[in-house]
């Protein structure tokens, strides 16, 4: 007898009709809660800051960032890795939990997918901002041109482009396929002409035919089966940007799995963060229950422990390699100019996450909110220390140097959080926040089970 049977994942008397009415009303009829407007205002201001900072960057060039040789990658790549990691949990929740038939995914997968979508967009923006001449980004594409140039296929940076492009396309497709039947629900319930045309166009005439559902489920299963390798490949490839080089601190074989685990850790943290905020904002506490938070907390703990293991292995490898350069990277991480980032990471990702062993912590929305934020900070610090400490002091002491973020680095980073918030807040007002067809299937499963019992 597992303990979670005491608190069901669904309100016991919820029917299909009530579910439809409740979730559709959030989009179609109810005015936005005050917290939503407040959030939109704050995020909107930050998004404006982002637009301004990017315009300034395009006008003056990447010199406005603090990147400097030898730390050529700096903030933009730190942020890319961070954002793409956040995206991964959205994909994983939808895909792997679908294949393994975990019913608790039904009420959280929608905003997890939306989160993934917007996080990938932002992850994709940073490499473009970092290009220096961003208007030439299409040089990365293999296309016939009069210069007879091709991409350098042996370069991880080209793999990176294909990985992010693939992930962006996959996430958008997956989100749309998951939305399709719910768009039909909104089409049938929209009261205004504008709403009918908007949702009707997006729903492309979905009518729930049994044969359509059969093909739909098959396609969904293919997408889910492909999702796991995509997640692993995308972050794996991004880690190869670092690991394929011979820079001490980058050149570790553990990087691909280490990055994937870190990605999932920060991603599950962000799902927990959004779950706590959205369930409160739209009063969905009975659909996104404390049990959901409990499960998310377990996933966070699991991947945090994998990340912690990777930290120890990295340190071990540096020592066991017997190379002075590799050993020095660690001494520098512990005592050098960027030491606060390393110790901050350890505090967030190793020390604080241990609180998740306690059931009371995992079931407390406030505690989960705090831990989600500290975990994301911890993961950002991890990306920061990998990118900065590894390059700032590698082989030749004469080539050593430091780079520190400027105001514009921070403006773009903080601004991108605002862009993410704006996109997500608009999404929850335009699209059903909870996947209706998944929930219907879940309700039907529950009813069937109670009939049998």
């Amino acid at each position: 007898m597992s303990r979670h049977d005491e608190s069901p994942l669904l309100p016991p008397d919820l029917t299909h009709d009530q579910l439809t009415t409740r979730i559709c009303d959030l989009v179609l009829h109810r005015s936005s809660p005050r917290a939503w407007w407040g959030g939109l205002l704050v995020c909107g201001l930050l998004a404006t800051l982002f637009v301004y900072a990017v315009a300034y960057l395009f006008a003056l060039g990447v010199g406005v960032f603090g990147i400097n040789i030898p730390v050529a990658w700096g903030f933009p790549i730190t942020n890319t890795i961070w954002w793409i990691g956040i995206a991964h949990a959205g994909t994983l929740i939808s895909a792997v939990l679908l294949i393994t038939r975990q019913p608790w995914r039904a009420s959280i997968n929608r905003f997890a997918e939306a989160m993934a979508m917007f996080a990938v967009v932002l992850a994709g923006v940073y490499p473009l901002l970092h290009l220096g001449r961003p208007w030439l980004f299409y040089y990365l594409l293999p296309y016939p041109n009069t210069m007879e140039l091709w991409p350098q296929w042996r370069s991880p940076l080209v793999w990176d482009f294909f990985a992010i492009f693939t992930y962006l396309s996959f996430t958008a497709t997956f989100l749309y396929v998951s939305l399709l039947p719910d768009l039909a629900t909104l089409r049938d319930r929209a009261a205004t002409r504008l709403g009918q045309v908007f949702y009707g166009t997006l729903a492309i005439g979905w009518r729930g035919s049994a044969v359509h559902w059969a093909r739909y489920e098959r396609a969904n299963r293919v997408l889910s089966a492909v999702a796991a390798p995509i997640v692993v490949t995308v972050t794996g490839i991004i880690s190869l940007d670092l690991a394929v080089s011979i820079v001490p601190g980058y050149h570790f074989t553990i990087f691909p799995p280490y990055f994937v685990a870190g990605a999932l850790f920060s991603g599950f943290s962000t799902v927990a963060l959004l779950a706590v905020i959205l369930r409160r904002m739209f009063r969905l506490q009975d659909l996104v229950t404390r049990t959901h938070l409990d499960y998310l907390g377990r996933m966070m703990l699991l991947f945090a422990l994998v990340v912690d293991y990777a930290y120890t292995q990295e340190i071990f490898t540096a020592w066991y390699s017997g190379e002075d350069y590799y050993r020095y990277v660690y001494i520098d991480r512990w005592t050098g100019p960027y030491a606060p980032a390393w110790w901050g990471m350890i505090f967030c990702n190793v020390v604080l996450v241990q609180l998740l062993w306690f059931r009371r912590v995992r079931r407390s929305p406030l505690a989960m909110l705090c831990l989600a934020i500290t975990s994301n900070i911890g993961m950002w610090l991890e990306r920061f220390q990998i990118v900065f400490t590894s390059t700032h002091a590698d082989y030749m002491p004469s080539a050593w140097g430091e780079a520190w973020p400027t105001m514009w680095d921070w403006a773009v980073f903080i601004g991108s959080l605002g862009v993410f918030g704006v996109l997500l807040l608009l999404f929850v007002r335009l699209m059903p926040l909870i996947s209706l067809h998944d929930m219907r299937a879940f309700i039907a499963m529950r009813d069937r089970r109670s009939d049998d019992g």
């Binding site: 029917t15 299909h16 009709d17 439809t20 009415t21 293999p142 140039l149 091709w150 991409p151 350098q152 296929w153 042996r154 080209v158 793999w159 294909f162 990985a163 693939t166 396309s169 996959f170 497709t173 396929v177 039947p181 039909a184 629900t185 089409r187 049938d188 319930r189 009707g200 166009t201 492309i204 005439g205 979905w206 009518r207 729930g208 035919s209 049994a210 044969v211 359509h212 559902w213 059969a214 093909r215 739909y216 489920e217 098959r218 396609a219 299963r221 293919v222 997408l223 492909v226 390798p229 995509i230 490949t233 995308v234 490839i237 190869l240 067809h437 998944d438 219907r440 299937a441 039907a444």
Partner: protein, 176 residues
Amino acid sequence: MAKRYGLLARFDTADALVAAVKAMHQAGYRALEPCTPYPVAGLPEALGFTSRWVPVMALAAAIMGAVGIYFLQWYSSVVSYPFVVGGKPLHSWPAFLIPAFVIGLLSAVVGSVVAMLFGNRLPRPYHPAFHVAEFDRVTSDGFFLIVAASDPCFDDSRTAARLRELAAANIVEVPA
């Protein structure tokens, strides 16, 4: 009498719909279209529907995508613009496998979704059943069965009576 598309029957439960579809299918009806708010287990089987096209197309697309991008890499670095970098062979297959794998996955995604939409003949914004106001419930809690008049077994009074026998809660005519 105005031209009609067929009959639309609503059932109270998914089980009643599955039973009705089974009975109608056995009686020889082929132009049956059950519509449900969520995928109901057993319905495609009751219709005698099996399709392996979606995964097959996904696999075919994945292979084509992977082979295509691999060929492009080989062609561009061995034939079109041979250029030695870092002493690596022109045909650096371990490196070429990575874009091939990623693009193969992407092609599987596109292939399965295109096969799903094409097989379902979507987008199709118009369907005669949308004329029936009650059909809105198909996207919430209604289990419907559309029997098209084009079916050779279709007979106005007998089909309606048969549906009523099979526990249809409500039967409406669908205008063409």
